[in-house]
Symmetry: C2
Subunit: 420 residues, 2 copies
Amino acid sequence: MAQRKLGRGVAVVGAGMSKFGAFPEMTTRDLFAQAFREMCATVDKGFDPQTIEAIYLGNYSSDLFEGQGHTAPLLTNWVGLSPRPATRVEDACASGGVALRQAVLAIASGAYDIALVGGIEKMSSLATEKVTDTLATAGDVLFEISAGFTFPGFYAAMATAYLHAYACPTEALLNVGMKNHANGALNDKAQFGQRIADIMEARKKSAAKKGLPIPTWANELEFLRDERANPYIALPLRLFDCSPISDGAAAVLLVADELAAMFTDHPLRVIGSGQASDGALHDRATFTAIPAARLASQQAYAMANVTPVDIQVAEVHDCFTIAEIIASEDLGFFEAGQGWRAAQAGVTARAGTRPINTSGGLKSKGHPVGASGVGQVIEIWKQLRGVAGARQVAGDLRLGLTHNVGGTGQTCVVHIFERA
Amino acid sequence: MAQRKLGRGVAVVGAGMSKFGAFPEMTTRDLFAQAFREMCATVDKGFDPQTIEAIYLGNYSSDLFEGQGHTAPLLTNWVGLSPRPATRVEDACASGGVALRQAVLAIASGAYDIALVGGIEKMSSLATEKVTDTLATAGDVLFEISAGFTFPGFYAAMATAYLHAYACPTEALLNVGMKNHANGALNDKAQFGQRIADIMEARKKSAAKKGLPIPTWANELEFLRDERANPYIALPLRLFDCSPISDGAAAVLLVADELAAMFTDHPLRVIGSGQASDGALHDRATFTAIPAARLASQQAYAMANVTPVDIQVAEVHDCFTIAEIIASEDLGFFEAGQGWRAAQAGVTARAGTRPINTSGGLKSKGHPVGASGVGQVIEIWKQLRGVAGARQVAGDLRLGLTHNVGGTGQTCVVHIFERA
């Protein structure tokens, strides 16, 4: 399982995304075209899209969400790129990150010099209950879903195990949501781009308008503690512990390292890539860590020849708040059991020493599942190039990381990027 | 779009498959394990499955067929290969062939030395009508399926165009089915492993047993001409022009060329690989050829540095009889409009000068859609190594080809294999 050296290096030279949200009036094709157009516009020296040689598309289940399969050539055609080879890659919510990895390997193989990586999901066409059922197919239908599990249930089980193992108070989870909403409020692509405080104030105003008693929440924590404002979804997880149902697309342009200077003077070199798999949750020895994430990150660190302390900014897979805490440990940022303390202490905040999910994360930015892994790259692109605007992390950023999980950790893929 | 040289060569050193058919009592996991075990047993010098470093799985839609997504890590776990990276690849009925290509590129990139390629589909759990609907999602749901098209309809439109363009008599299509059933009768893995004549005789016996008038068909052609025996499905395509609904799995072991001798003295080198995409059928300039197949095969020939006349045995995507005829032209075996004449003259029969689908093809062997592209490799493996038994093509076979189509040609992937 040693990570070998790739045949040649690969760099990101363009990155764009649609807004994430619920867009009943738009098709998947529209969303993908938005992301594609924005990506094209970010290529500093410009480029002819017709020089793209292959398309890798991360998508979880347009089959179940939209009744449309074989999406890769369809979307390729829609943005004018037929007859390039178009390949859909699926590993549940890690589909985007795994698509990125396959494109990296394809360029490293010599087959292509220039490849487009897309991520897409349109989930809002289904009723919420149906979305939950569809997402549940990323678990083990035979042994888990048949027993009544859903994804909030899976992560609630992991949270329960974590809280118990590390004497973590339930409320510690809420810090992750508050932080990510604070970040997302500065991201105009975010689905829920409001601070929790903004949401709280809006609720007060709405109550006043309706002539109802105005809630007395003094701060975000009081708001989140209120079971009417923040109901339990699957104990101990509450509404604001869960990422939303989203539509969205993201696109990244990859080129062989030696060509990067034709596109930009500031490429992001993909210096680390790791991917691992696992059995379903019911079959694992631990619920307080995701073994595939530990392995994938070890592979990526070894390939990049860096250690966790070197990473300056990271986008991690916070499908639920507990997932971000566990990820921050799996990635080696904190010791096992210390992730929640770091979150509570503000270490992972934008101004902390270890900023995580400056984009707002899946929690606030949104989680169109097949797009999320590619969307993470957009944020690292912005942060490392210093164009993240109001949410820009201070300092000379050179190294960033993305961490993308499928299911409860049946798949994990980690990438490390270095600004050239 | 020039095909570049890959970083290093890749070889097939093992190949196995489950029986294809309808297996209501088996799960996808069982079928995959069957194929995996048979593959392991074909590795001449033996090997430790734990040395496999990555899994690429071709699957069209376990989502819609079985309500199970995220199948790659699930099946990887089932055969004891967690925590290897496990990636599902989807391009409709070309999923298997495209998975093979991604594994080839991944090994060529240097990321892995040893990779497993699987193909799987379990279609028989759904009612036939539902299967037709599910397969239709591989078309353009927005612009084609909404207008009433199904896959028999698509290929009927292509057949109608072909018959008209090349003054081809409708009955010429029947030759493909007769040939493929004659081949499949010699393949113990085939779903319908009977000659048309066998089926005809069985019908006669059944009639006699029931005391009904015994049909007077004198030969296969008379049987196939009889609208009661061979009803129209979508004019001009009849029942025996269509591949069946199937369950099945296939598995292939790929290794870096330089390691092949550790596994076998008779590896199959993957000397050519091509992949192309296209818009949906309604958007194409021609119905009598599949442009993506032409492009993919040109790429594969260029990479392999061979020409169509060099290919000694080919497995092509005969989801319908017309598809085999068009494929034989797209691959450059025959001029446009000559494919049907070649089929009629026996050129593509096992004893002909250009044997096609010696396995029985999708028509007789079965078409578990995500497995078909990998299943094709099993036949080429057997033919080139001289272990195809009663259906072995005579002569010193060195070069074989596989041709795998997704949808109506939105994807095509072609591989060329050389016996070392």
